[in-house]
């Protein structure tokens, strides 16, 4: 669903997010603040950026490259957010990138010491795209706190690849690269468990989802868009306009210039 229209996704990446991608695969890196997201970013890309220990460190999107199995990957570090409800600019940036940029894979870094709270974000990302890898970081701290995480079980429950890491020691990152590679190249096709909401919400979705599907024609997950509208989120409408419909305006302008040129 999320990737039925791969080519136009890349077009948006190029136009709106200023990423040129020919051969490269685009990978987004999402996560709550303070889960070692920047460390994962640095370890994957080999950048020696300083990683701070307070909320709101990543304000501007950082970008890096790495290679795995002779394929090139562009890694986009998204702002650290607790959700994708677009309550803040950061949340909207993260959401729009995953939703409209359509990265080939999205890594959601979660804190192993407080998995429950962190899973909210992972679940929301999984509603937008199937191509998700959950990276459970800070496994060593979790262990020290007496928290044991059954990665296999988690993978089954979520329906997407789950990788345990201790990013600052470089543990588990090769496995992470491998799973990202698998997803980006279509070796693995995750089927995320979609959330079932309470009855009233589901009924509301049922009512408007078909119409939305007709309008968006698979460009976005219609169930998810329906949910956002029910949620009363106005920003999604603006974003849809900006990322999908603004193209038309740009193209028309381009044609006009050509005509005048003749």
């Amino acid at each position: 669903m999320g990737l039925t229209c791969d080519s136009c996704g890349k077009g948006i990446l190029k136009k709106k997010f200023n990423i040129k991608c020919g051969e490269e695969f685009v990978v987004a890196l999402a996560g709550n603040p303070n889960v070692g997201k920047s460390t994962v970013f640095n370890e994957l890309t080999g950048l020696k950026q300083h990683t701070g220990n307070w909320p709101g460190k990543t304000v501007v999107n950082a970008r890096g490259n790495y290679e795995f199995n002779k394929k090139k990957f562009i890694l986009m570090d998204l702002p650290g957010t607790y959700s994708l409800f677009a309550n803040s600019v950061e949340e909207q940036v993260a959401r729009d990138f995953i939703c409209f940029g359509r990265p080939d894979a999205t890594i959601v870094v979660v804190d192993g010491t407080c998995l429950e709270r962190n899973l909210n974000l992972a679940l929301q990302v999984m509603e937008i795209t199937n191509n998700v890898v959950v990276c459970v970081n800070l496994m060593d701290e979790a262990e020290r706190k007496g928290i044991f995480i059954d990665i296999k079980a988690l993978e089954e429950e979520l329906g997407v690849p789950v990788v345990a890491t201790v990013a600052r020691k470089g543990q588990g990152l090769d496995e992470l690269r491998k799973r990202v590679f698998n997803i980006a190249l279509g070796v693995e096709n995750p089927k995320p468990k979609k959330m079932t909401y309470s009855k009233t919400v589901e009924e509301a979705i049922e009512k408007i989802q078909p119409q939305i599907h007709k309008i968006l024609k698979g460009k976005l997950d219609s169930r998810w868009v329906a949910l956002r509208l029910i949620d009363g989120d106005k920003t999604i409408i603006d974003s849809i306009h900006e990322y999908i419909y603004d193209d038309k305006i740009l193209e028309i302008q381009g044609e006009e210039v050509l005509v005048n040129g003749r």
Partner: protein, 466 residues
């Protein structure tokens, strides 16, 4: 093309509107709750917890570090300890470096004499550029190499968010955003970085307050100046046994004073030019982490120490050259340097400085690191040609040029409060996109610096004359 038909978008908008009239915010909570419940269910299946001991331990430390009564004393104590270690540890390596540099200077001078090079060339290159560089490296490098790793250690342990937590209430009372405590902490590293960090504050009003006041905490470029002056002038007041403790205490006080000024100015701004109510935010206290020693050393030595030093050297070398020329080119019977300083002198006296010092602050606009080197060079170029091998001799040079404890105090205060460096100003211009606020961000601190120094100098004069 059909699927991009604007009419389809209008349909979407109308669906959104009808859903809104039907449900309003009614289902929002339910959606959030459902996600939480789902996350909880998954966690239950995949996670097993053994004990809560460690968590409780973290919480106990938090209670102590952020307690109402002990929070602030612990904060100042830690800061004082960091300064104390820095001052104590920096003395010896500074001496060694200085000896090394001046040994090399002798050799270089021989080389120039052997090559029969003109006197002015030796003057420009050795007495102008090399000496400044030698001073910058030998006096600034050791304290930085100790201070930065210690500061990064506190950061890495997770202490800085606790500092922010302690200060949060004060900032809110000042009508500013709680996150300003974070951007201020960043300012200790570099004010330009602190200004960029202000992006985390969403409200434009509060962001501007944070940007305008970031300068009141001493950055890396100014710490070495403060540490050097506090060591020789404040530490020198008491017997050598207590001098480092007194000096570190004094720098801590200066920092506290800077924070106080930050709060006062924020409060005034939020009551006048930038009126408004502070918005709320939740500051999350991250768990304590075992520090990564290698990364700390790497970050603080390469990213910070070498960066700051590199900048100082890059600016100091040409500045050394310019100053040497200014000091040796004469108009009438005085050098240009003397003319300039004579011009500034009357005003500088009023605020407890002298013409050379004020000129150094102005020439030091590109980088605060070089203010003291410029002062030294100006004095040396004036005729008192002595070799500067240690802090003690720096003190002699300053005293020979009429410095007193009061002068040192005013220099430190002026350094703490005056206009930000050119890099920071440029960053402010970029971040606010407004010339007005950029100019204000230079004027406000400078005005405060002048007023504070004036008050200190006048008070001292009054007391002295009584």
């Amino acid at each position: 093309m059909d699927d991009k038909d604007p009419r389809r978008f209008e349909e979407l908008v109308s669906i959104s509107d009808s859903v809104q009239t039907m449900y309003g915010d009614e289902l929002t909570d339910s959606i959030v709750k459902d996600i939480y419940t789902f996350a909880e269910a998954i966690t239950k299946k995949a996670v097993t917890k053994k004990s809560q001991r460690k968590m409780n331990f973290d919480k106990k430390i938090d209670d102590l570090l952020t307690s109402r009564i002990l929070g602030f004393p612990i904060m100042f104590l830690l800061l004082g300890v960091v300064f104390w270690i820095t001052i104590t540890g920096a003395n010896y390596p500074s001496q060694i470096l200085a000896n090394l540099f001046f040994w090399l200077e002798d050799k270089l001078t021989y080389l120039f004499m052997a090559a029969d090079s003109p006197k002015w060339l030796h003057g420009i290159l050795i007495l102008g550029m090399y000496r400044t560089l030698a001073w910058v490296v030998s006096v600034m490098l050791p304290p930085m190499a100790i201070f930065f790793p210690l500061f990064t250690l506190l950061e890495d342990l997770g202490y800085l968010p606790r500092v922010a937590f302690n200060l949060d209430k004060l900032f809110k009372k000042a009508g500013a955003h709680g996150k300003q405590s974070l951007t201020m902490s960043m300012g200790f590293g570099c004010n330009a970085a602190g200004v960029i960090a202000c992006r985390i504050i969403e409200s434009p009003r509060e962001r501007l307050i944070a940007v305008l006041t970031n300068n009141f905490v001493p950055c890396n470029g100014r710490f070495p100046t403060l540490i050097a002056l506090a060591t020789i002038f404040v530490g020198g007041l008491v017997s050598s046994r207590y001098s480092t403790i007194v000096a570190s205490l004094f720098i801590t006080l200066l920092v506290v004073f800077g924070i106080a000024i930050t709060l006062i100015v924020s409060w005034i701004l939020s009551k006048t030019m930038l009126k408004g109510v502070p918005s709320t935010f939740t500051l999350e206290l991250p768990p304590y982490r075992k520090p990564q020693i290698v990364r700390i050393l790497y970050t603080s030595l390469i990213d910070r120490t070498i960066f700051v030093l590199g900048r100082a050297v890059a600016v100091a070398a040409p500045a050394g050259l310019v100053i040497w020329i200014l000091a040796n080119v004469r108009i009438g019977d005085m050098s240009i340097l003397n003319h300039l300083s004579m011009f500034l002198h009357p005003f500088a006296r009023i605020i407890g400085l002298d013409g050379f010092i004020l000129m150094a602050f102005i020439i030091g606009l590109p980088a605060n690191e070089i203010v003291v080197p410029i002062i030294i060079m100006s004095y040396m170029a004036k005729g008192a040609m002595l070799e500067l091998e240690s802090l003690a001799e720096m003190k002699e040079l300053f005293i020979a040029n009429g410095w007193t404890f009061l002068t040192a105090l005013n220099v430190m205060l002026f350094s703490l409060l005056h206009f930000p460096c050119a890099t920071t100003l440029w960053t402010i211009k970029k971040e606010t996109g407004s010339s007005k606020w950029t100019i204000l961000s230079a004027l406000i601190p400078t005005a405060i610096a002048i007023v504070v120094c004036f008050i200190v100098a006048s008070t001292a004069r009054l007391l002295g004359s009584v």
